[in-house]
Symmetry: C2
Subunit: 337 residues, 2 copies
């Protein structure tokens, strides 16, 4: 698998986006975000997803020259319309604005409707933390998971992110409400692997780690069973209501194929941690907790306990040094775009 | 099991609290909250917990006449010191204040330190929703769960709540980051029942539904395995940093028995949904999603799909009509206090 230097990947992403009518500045932002996600090891929402983004532009689902507009607001809250622009550029703008609102109001919130897949949700957490803010954000998705007690998929996996700034490397948790993504299950099935923990139900109604069995029912497991189901429903409804946008249900009404996931509703909350309690308080509280976590008795002696976001930082350092590993097929496909 | 009318339970709670030096008004608020939680079927954090609350007062861990003070604030954010007052009264005050801040600033946040167990977290979600606000709140706890990859308990189960106002009955999700509470596992073990889904690890390192096996390792499962572990760490650190209070690690330094869980850090966020987007928008978005959920293909034909908070409302109606079922032993104990 070739390793591509980050700047080469970013330049190619930018170039291809510009050929699709994307303004140079917008293309540069989108390309940087996708490169950074790839650099952090989240290839599924970086380089591997790039061809699909271009396809969505070609099909008119993503409108690369659209810019979001502020609809209304009050104090620290603003409602925005993403106008079907590039999802990652829209989301970056929304978190930038939430941080700006937080500087004035202590905390800020942007609810954005009619936007597109934000790719890696963690991006906007890292972004808030870089600005010295606590970031909390989530998105809804197309219906891709059954509610608790149901067989058919009517709720979203609705990724949820919390980020906390730290001098030695931020803490970021970025997790969907499904135990595994479709991509992870398909990869495991293709490679004949079992999932590391149960990911869904088989046809007899038993939970299983076998991705091939789950593929027969698509009864994927929410995190925490009924808990993740409930969280998914609330995250969806809060985002859709406050943004005045579509719920997962309404997104599902647009169609059922992979190109129907557009006009999403997203929430971005920033709390100005540095401005409110200062970096010294954050440092004191965070460092001793990390030390305590690291002192845990390990299940596997060789397996260190990581804080959320730590593995991404280790991968980032390696990929910055060696280049980003890109699958041959993906790399050929991107160069042909 | 006797069924006690809600007003009798509330009157008795109030009376006992007053005998312990609790001011009448504070006692009334605390008693009402515990009665409402019992009425909603959350007995573990209502009537069943009352004797322990009195014990904590008697031991000086809860200071029933303490009132929280505002430490500092900026815009929609305020930091409060709970001064070890009654946890549920403190939390109600904090969410009231967050809602008040939200009326002015669109959204509001109170971070409270040095407070006590808030009993049922959902209470403060229902409260925000009653006021027409979206409520998001969480608390940290003593260390009661291993981090992902660890054997020993260094992170909290940190209950997390999201609530959304609705004319026909609010939507409230109230879930700890552990799959099951210690109380649930102990009940199942006493009754010789298996847990409905895996709740932890046995001594061979396999996940199990057997509460007796989990009791041997206390490796309880976070919701979503590594996901709930990461969420727990972030919820703890955000609350402890912003409140200037104790982290789960620091709470653990106070001791390891059940009376060591005090000086908690809690977060209360309110978004003025009614004021920002109006009840009509909420209604339109929420009702069609609930209808869609209800139309799911059921796993068990006889088992309706509930939205989060619906079961509590059904239990509430029944207990209001028939009285609150109270275990004989618990009832005798409360009357002897």
């Amino acid at each position: 698998m070739p390793r591509i230097p980050a700047q080469d990947l970013e330049a190619l992403f930018t170039h291809v986006l510009v050929t699709r009518g994307c303004p140079a500045e917008t293309a540069a932002i989108s390309a940087r975000i996708m490169t950074e996600s790839s650099c952090d090891g989240v290839y599924s929402h970086g380089v591997n997803r790039f061809p699909r983004i271009i396809e969505c532009i070609d099909r008119g689902i993503i409108k690369p020259s659209a810019t979001p507009v502020r609809v209304e607001g009050k104090g620290g809250f603003e409602q925005w319309d993403g106008r079907q622009g590039l999802g990652n550029v829209n989301a970056k703008l929304a978190m930038d604005r939430a941080v700006e609102l937080a500087r004035t109001h202590g905390l800020g919130c942007v609810a954005m409707r009619n936007t597109n897949h934000w790719l890696r949700g963690g991006t906007y957490g890292w972004q808030a933390a870089d600005a010295g803010a606590i970031g909390i954000c989530w998105t809804n998705t197309m219906p891709n998971m059954p509610a608790w007690g149901a067989r058919d998929r009517r709720i979203g996996n609705n990724p949820f992110v919390i980020a906390l700034p730290r001098n030695g490397g931020h803490l970021v948790i970025d997790c969907a409400m499904a135990q595994f993504s479709y991509g992870q299950m398909e990869n495991a099935e293709r490679q004949g692997r079992q999932l590391p923990v149960p990911g869904g139900y088989d046809q007899s109604g038993n939970i299983t780690t076998d991705p091939a069995e789950i593929a027969k029912t698509w009864r994927v497991l929410p995190i925490g069973f009924w808990k993740g189901s409930g969280l998914s429903i609330l995250l969806d409804l809060v985002g859709a209501s406050l943004s005045g946008g579509l719920s997962t249900y309404r997104i599902g009404q647009q169609g059922t194929d992979e190109y129907s996931e557009y006009n999403l509703s997203q929430m971005f909350i920033a709390i100005d941690a540095d401005g409110l309690v200062g970096r010294m308080m954050l440092t004191r509280t965070v460092e001793e907790v990390i030390s305590d976590l690291k002192a845990s008795v390990r299940v596997d002696d060789d397996q260190e306990i990581f804080y959320p976001g730590e593995k991404e930082q280790l991968t980032r350092a390696e990929n910055q040094r060696l280049g980003i590993p890109v699958d041959d097929t993906v790399w050929d496909r991107i160069r042909s775009l």
